[in-house]
């Protein structure tokens, strides 16, 4: 047997996305698409107010009886009746929220997710079905060419998008005091505690915030959020290569995982976790090219599909 060269027999090193990119409803979506195509993943961030200005923040008070039509009409000249259609199944949840801050953050984050997803799938935001796994993880129903993850804190929203596997993002205020708190004991493995003890006092809180965001990002990527206990896995604060370690510091997950941490807008720490299963997925993630041409044509040509107008009278037995 001859064996041709062509590809290395080791897994290719996963590529890491560029610095998070700030977006408003106006974009720059072409840059987001380009980053996703070139690097396989992209992280965007946004300011809450940029995403609420098109949809006024003085939203009508929540009423349990509000329907989409009523809400749209109630918005008056400053409103936008497209909102119920845009939010889809999240609309009902939104109308039932009573706290204005919660409502505002919920609305802005769903809009950001839908606009970002629509931009990369080259589709209309209202056509995106934003759904939730049983544990609450958001995903794009029927469009698994990209995986998404959402995080928000204070007035920052962060969305990660990948076409290479699974993604998790998390953002925290860099100034959040974790050092010496109960949280410190709850999130650190013995190995991390040992390494942190060697860290200079001033740097220690920053290291803890980074650890926290890495742990959140990782557990979001595996779909478990806070259910996967943070003392069951860890990282090596200060190490050059970030990888998941077992509580005693021995290697945990494999090379298919990659991690990144950035400082965003001068006051936030944002981390990313990414797993690439190695399918070498297509660069093209557009929704319009996803339907296989030959298969769809063969099926659409079939008699029962070409004679659909001759349907029999249906009655609804339910």
């Amino acid at each position: 047997m001859t064996t041709a060269p062509g590809a290395s027999a080791v897994l290719p090193a996963p590529s890491v996305p560029a610095e998070p990119l700030q977006v408003t409803p106006q974009g720059p979506w072409h840059t987001v698409r380009r980053e996703l195509a070139e690097r396989g993943s992209v992280v965007v961030f946004a300011r809450l107010q940029d995403w609420l200005s098109d949809f006024p923040s003085d939203l009508p008070p929540a009423t349990s009886t509000a329907t989409g039509a009523e809400f749209g009409a109630g918005m008056g000249a400053g409103g936008d009746s497209a909102l119920p259609a845009l939010l889809g199944r999240d609309w009902q949840r939104f109308t039932q929220m009573t706290n204005d801050d919660v409502r505002g953050r919920f609305l802005a984050s769903r809009l950001l997710l839908k606009y970002a997803a629509a931009a990369v799938l080259e589709a209309r935001p209202a056509d995106i079905d934003l759904a939730y796994k049983p544990g609450g993880r958001p995903y794009l129903r029927g469009c698994d060419q990209v995986d998404i993850s959402l995080s928000h804190t204070a007035d920052l929203l962060v969305v990660g998008i990948t076409r290479r596997g699974w993604i998790g993002v998390d953002a925290e205020l860099s100034s959040r005091q974790l050092r010496g708190s109960a949280v410190e004991r709850q999130i650190c493995t013995p190995y991390e505690t040992q390494l942190l003890a060697r860290t200079h006092q001033q740097a220690r809180n920053a290291a803890l915030v980074r650890l926290w965001t890495l742990k959140e990002a990782y557990s979001k990527a595996i779909g478990q959020g806070l259910r996967f206990r943070f003392t069951e896995f860890g990282f090596a604060p200060g190490a050059r290569r970030v990888q998941v370690l077992r509580p005693d510091g021995t290697p945990g997950s494999g090379d298919e995982w990659s991690f990144c941490t950035w400082s965003v807008a001068g006051r936030y720490t944002v981390s990313l976790a990414l797993v690439d299963l190695g399918f070498d997925d297509a660069v093209d993630v557009a929704a319009r090219t996803m339907l296989d041409e030959a298969m769809a044509d063969a099926l659409l040509r079939q008699p029962q599909n070409t004679r659909w107008t001759a349907q029999r009278e249906v009655r609804d037995p339910l």
């Binding site: 041709a4 759904a131 939730y132 299963l277 659409l300 008699p303 659909w308 339910l318």
Partner: protein, 596 residues
Amino acid sequence: MALTTLAVSHNEAAARPRAAHPGALHAEAAVAARVADLERRFGDPWDPANPLGHAGILAADERGRPQAEAEQLLDGFDLNAEFVPAALGGRLVRADTLARVLRCVFRRDQALGTGYGAFSVLAGASVWAAGSSAQQRWAADLLLGGGRLAVSYRELAHGNAFLRDEFTLSTRDGRRELSGAKRVIINADRARGLVIVCRSSAEPGSRSHSTLLLDRDALPAGKVRDLQRYPMVGMRGCPMTGLEFTHCPVPESSLLGQQGDGVELALRSFAFTRSILPSMVLGGADTALRTALRFAAARGVGGRPVERNPQARRTLAGAFTDLLICDSLALAGTRAAGLGLGITGVYAAATKYLLPILLHDCVHELSVLLGSSIYVRDGEFGIFQKHVRDLPVTSLGHAGAAAALSTISPELSALARRSWLTDTPGEPALFTLRADLPTLDFRRLGTLAADDVLCAELAAAAHQDPTGAGEHAAVLRPLLGHLAGELRRLREACAALAPLSRHSLANPHTYALADRYTLVLAAAACLGVWRHQQGGPDTFLARPHWLVCALLRICTRLGIGTPATAPGPEAEVYTELSRRFTHASSFDLYDTPLAA
């Protein structure tokens, strides 16, 4: 076909029929006996001294090679005979029973199941569906003699390493020749029989591909070469290399069916392969759940024994429920193939689409119980991470999902208009898991989606007085209402799709509708299984607890009706899971006794 090009120098045993007569192969007792035989041969997987146990499997995975002892065991069992239709001397009569036998292998090692056998099954489907009698005889003799078939599909939309690029068939100097390269083909470097879907016309559309059956040994040396191994995170013990043809002459007689039949033949064989492979893969999730139970029993969860940790029990019961949901849909898909239903291709595509999603979520939920032990690659719990890594591979990732949705989406409009919420009668034989079926006829495999007998189950159940569900009738009734409401919304949305235009279908709105439809089908399959086991020997399946849990989980995924935390009768489901764990039987519909 010129026999000179396809002669197999098989031994005497190869041509020997493996069963006295096909009828005997149908019987429940015969299938159960074969499964028991295979289990006995494999022995206790948890015994560190068993070379065929988890320790040996993990070592083979570490080496990135097929496990020789395990392949010899399967040779001894004559597993290949399961892949050959009974009419050609093998033991293949039904899709559901084939999946059941192979599930034993996948429960041990998904890479072994895939590398030893499953891809011979997938390749064989095209031969049994469209091959001449000489081609069928050759492929049957090859498999019965211990040989392998490999299959290479054409380039599909959003194709990845498995489904990108394609071979081209052209004519030069009056001779047909094959050119091109394909990066990943399972068993490419060790299969003598190659089923190759190739482009035979530059025109767009569905008549531009053809399928060939080639004898690797008869191809001229230098015109075909193997490409290096493709590295994957999972299934490291499964041979994944590629092939390159350079102006390689192929015999005129190698065409399967007619030139241009490639796409239609693939759709026909998919009606079988797309339900059968995920059904086998379910065995891997069985072992992941069993390992989680074993871990919980030995170490507790969150510092507490599992008996005093209701959240851990809910997670375990939920995972078991997910496996039952998956098996219900796979059962309907594989039995639809045997019944020759027109809608088989749609059910198979739904199975291929939904099972990888449910199984992925299921094993990741279980990972919470194992905590840091999910990283362990050896010892008692090391097999968990291997099954988690292996599970996504056979789904082929997004390209696999896109291909399944490409089969479902074009049918939605016609199904909605013609078949949903009508008085279409149901098909009880889809759900009677231990009952005989007609012998599988690959030439009749359905791609013409006619009556949707699964959705008919929903209508039938809504009519039925659910008092059979006892105290759970009060939960079941509104759940059925939510699901009927979902089907009504789907009908409205799908009937509005422009039915004849691929371009107008190709958007996230359609794909989301197709996704929701597969969940409704899964709910209908669970209902069917429950309804049609009443009074039968499978008493757990006849009771309502698992059904209520299953429908609650499906409704949560659909985002309808129930809060995500709605409690179901999980205690009863956990009790059954615990019984099966203690008595070593399978976590699927069949409750099959296992070696350990």
